[in-house]
Symmetry: C2
Subunit: 572 residues, 2 copies
């Protein structure tokens, strides 16, 4: 079908040209006999004008929003210009007009601003996605994907595909299962990540691999989580931490420049996990503002405050010029602290050079003066036995940044979090879990063997503006160390053989040192498009209750399908 | 980790340079005290030499095949040169050598030639893939994928992702199902293709979409089929057949040039489905050779041959210089004809200007002379009532091309097959099936309404060297026509509503004319790498019995997993 221009292209330079355009009717209006139509395509809008004497006038009279049309006409100068859009100085005097598709009145308006319910938007996703603001999310996603891939290809990584129908290895999140028709009672599993496959690519000598990989977790959904998600999965051989970090930095610098025209500075700052916890109260610190956590334990050891008795730590943070917070606001912050397992929230204000606050009656002027407050500051304190007080202060820090507008969304601050503990001890189950995953290389095998609690990992996360956007590690490439790791995690020899036998086997025929990282593509697109709703950056998302509203999936299936799969529904 | 070169890079120009290399020991040999090592990486091989006086000599003595090492050394000229490889004029005199990983003797040799059983190769896939010939399949796949994508991106297509967890619409092949944990007795389905999603992208106004999409069919496997496969899925709005064909031609021209340095001429030849059937006996003709089917019905109508009585058609093909075929070879061809539902195979030879053959006693010299045979030709005839005789001759044609070596694998001949019937009538089930799929646009809606058997489709397949590598069509974009199509296929209003309700709904809010095509990526890689086994071009394939030999999937799962999914195994 013939068309000469998209709807963002024509301007005053094209005056007098004959053009063919197509698209959707954004709106149509009759002004004193002249019909004006805003014609929309994926790039923009052009104004059409149809005169009463034109043979297409009858057709033009029928136009309603969302009709699909094609027109032929001549570019003329507009009388009343709209300098807000690229085509705003011209319009098309239409000579021919064809209606390609009529449209019923849509159940939601196809405009950037929408007051449609989320349920309606998801049911009519194909209309929701017609809104330019929504199209833009997916177009940016496309651009981001291309930019990331181009760096990897240029650096010699091969894009290789791994199976979606794999094996269930129940560890960590829940697998989605796929019943086998040929083997009664047997199941494939959808991959939670291509972790094992990508390491096998390294065993197989491909040296540099990546994949824009779909991953699946049958977990309860949140606003930033879907049943299926996409990660940029990367692995390389003969590399160390610095090498892989440099690749990721190149990706980020190029992608932010290409897509947002933003200059990101590399190399990124590095921070140990411990430092991040101690000063930011989180393993994913937002580096756009300071507001560091301080340790006041020694100071308050000297003062007898019942609330602080028996507490190991008294930590806090000073919000400069925060003394104006109302009691109501502070109460809300106290709730936040408790929700994040903080024991309590204590505050001290310095206003007009007078101190006040929730522990006023225990504090002397001299005590106050040791705190280091400037006039108009507020200090928040959280007492605690362990890292919980840091977690609570971390949440408080983020909330204060919102309240005091400390962040600019167009400011992008990356940080590497390094020096992770290898294991986490679960007090209830009396066993260790891998902090990242069981293939992460320990910094020192002897420590893993003799004092697993202290074992550190060759792992690194990349954090952007307070969100983890990727995590990686060097991997274990020795069969013995891998066995030790599984054993430390409480797997019996039988377990290991049954679940990971082939993988442990694979390590013994000459495995190169290797490592990698996986970037969360959905999260990166969210941050780069400034949305906090993952559904905005996924074309056909599931609801929070794991449903496809448009297609009505999951759905029941024919009994004969279940028979073929050797399955029965329980309770039927 | 430091390395200065890959193992295909060093040559006589680098003499005297100090270099760092890494890789796998291809082989190691001790010649008069000197140790020679062939060091392999993904690009090639470099020869190392370790002298007895070197401090690394003890380590070098330990080297066995598939050890992973890194070395430092100096490039020197080789005494006995191997001009068969790029590095064959030099070797590295090693000063330092580190063993990064030892290797047990692998269960199969890591060499291009392998006599390992397929079972062994699949079980130790990570070793099989280490063989350069196998690595090359996946590296070519990577390059082909990048080349195809680059054209689509350049032409303004957006790469958009569609869900893997979708809805079961049992039509055509069998779906893989995924039980839902939240909704007892409900299932997601893995997509057989993103057909509906990509049309919804057009409804949503994205105008140009593509995806390198994983698709799933729970069908019995053949050597060219896997449970999951990859297609390059393409859709565009405001286009006609020529537009989409031009995009595909651009893809092919660019990809063959980029990956194989082969010049492909576009536009490709076009041929109607009917013509292909009549002259090539197939809808996917190999255009690298002629050998056209001819209709001898009129001629044999004049001759009384019992075998031909009551047969509607007598069709055949002449193999020039084929008269030397032995009786045994001809018997094999007759078997092939019968396997392809041909009624019988008759042959007539002209040798030393004498005619002979299986119907000699019915034929006069005058009859023979009407056949148009040259000396040393052989004519094969298949009588039949319908297209079966064409199918049989089509299979015969392909086999003759093999026997007489009529094809060159480095010759690439594309052809578009157009003008397809819209429907196929199933005599047993007394109903129509869509020849492509139920979204294909009819050429004439009135014919579909009044005489569905004769309805033609706006569909086109692309065929390369006798293989269908892609199929596409313009789509129905009117709700009424879509309803008519479903009705013609025997779906009740209830069926349509339940299965496709949301989709029929979507067509009524302003749907642009659109169409597209899906390319079979696995098949394209197979043809471009000259393998007939799909497993060669898939990193981790399933066996013909749908198993992952390496991981042992599908596997049994914990009872608790089944309980969570509300499932029971039948018969337990």
């Amino acid at each position: 079908m013939k068309y000469t221009h998209y709807n963002h292209e024509l301007n005053i330079k094209h005056l007098g040209q004959e053009v063919y355009l197509k698209g959707w009717v954004q709106k149509s209006r009759n002004l004193g006999g002249l019909i004006f139509v805003d014609l929309r395509d994926r790039f923009g809008i052009t104004q059409l004008m149809v005169k009463p004497e034109n043979t297409s006038y009858e057709k033009a009279l029928k136009l309603r929003s969302e009709f699909v049309i094609e027109v032929k006409g001549v570019v003329i100068e507009r009388e009343s210009k709209n300098l807000g859009i690229p085509t705003g100085e011209i319009e098309i005097e239409v000579s021919d007009l064809e209606i390609l598709s009529a449209a019923e009145t849509p159940p939601m308006a196809v405009t950037n601003e929408s007051d449609a319910l989320e349920e309606t938007r998801l049911k009519y996703r194909y209309l929701d996605l017609r809104r330019p603001v929504m199209q833009n999310f997916l177009i940016q996603r496309h651009k981001i994907t291309q930019a990331i891939r181009s760096v990897l290809v240029k650096e010699g990584f091969y894009e290789l595909e791994t199976p979606i129908l794999g094996k269930s290895t129940p560890e960590g999140a829940r697998d989605f299962l796929v019943p086998s028709r040929l083997y009664a009672g047997h199941f494939y599993a959808l991959p939670q990540s291509p972790q094992i496959y990508k390491q096998l690519f390294m065993v197989a000598g491909f040296e540099k691999y990546f994949q824009i990989a779909r991953c699946f977790r049958d977990e309860d959904l949140r606003s930033d989580r879907q049943l299926e998600f996409t990660q940029v999965d990367i692995e390389a051989s003969f590399i160390d931490e610095e090498d892989i970090q440099r690749v990721i930095e190149n990706i980020m610098v190029h992608t932010f420049k290409e897509v947002l025209d933003v200059d990101v500075k590399a190399p990124f700052e590095k921070m140990s996990f411990r430092h991040a916890m101690d000063f930011y109260g989180t393993d994913k610190p937002d580096m756009r503002y300071d507001l560091l956590i301080k340790d006041f334990s020694d100071l308050f050891n000297q003062i007898d405050i019942p609330l602080f008795n028996d507490k190991k730590y008294i930590k806090g943070l000073i919000m400069p010029n925060g003394a104006g917070l109302t009691r109501k606001q502070i109460d809300k912050l106290a709730d936040l602290v408790k929700k994040n397992h903080g024991d309590a929230l204590v505050f001290i204000k310095k206003q007009n050079n007078e101190y006040s606050g929730s522990i006023n009656k225990f504090m002397s002027q001299k005590d106050y003066e040791l705190l280091g407050l400037n006039n108009e500051d507020i200090l928040f304190l959280v007492p605690g036995q362990d890292d919980n007080c840091l977690n609570a202060l971390g949440a408080l820090r983020v909330e204060l940044a919102v309240l005091f507008e400390l962040t600019n969304p167009n400011d992008y601050k990356f940080v590497w979090i390094t020096d992770w503990p290898l294991l986490e001890y679960d007090e209830d189950e009396k066993r260790y879990y891998a902090k990242h995953h069981p293939f992460t290389q320990p910094k020192d095998v002897d420590v893993l063997l003799n004092n697993p609690k202290e074992a550190m990992a060759k792992a690194y996360d990349i954090v952007l503006n307070g969100y983890e956007i990727g995590g990686g590690s060097l991997r274990i490439y020795s069969q013995d160390v891998q066995q030790l790791m599984f054993k430390t995690l409480g797997l019996t020899d039988e377990d290991v053989k049954h679940r990971f036998g082939f993988f442990v086997d694979a390590l013994k025929y000459g495995t190169p040192p290797h490592g990698g990282l996986a970037l969360g593509l959905d999260r990166i697109v969210m941050l780069m498009t400034h949305t906090s709703n993952i559904k905005d950056v996924v074309a056909f998302p599931k609801t929070q209750s794991a449903k496809d509203q448009m297609m009505q999936a999951p759905s029941d299936v024919d009994e004969v399908q279940l028979e073929e799969l050797h399955l029965k529904i329980r309770g039927e």
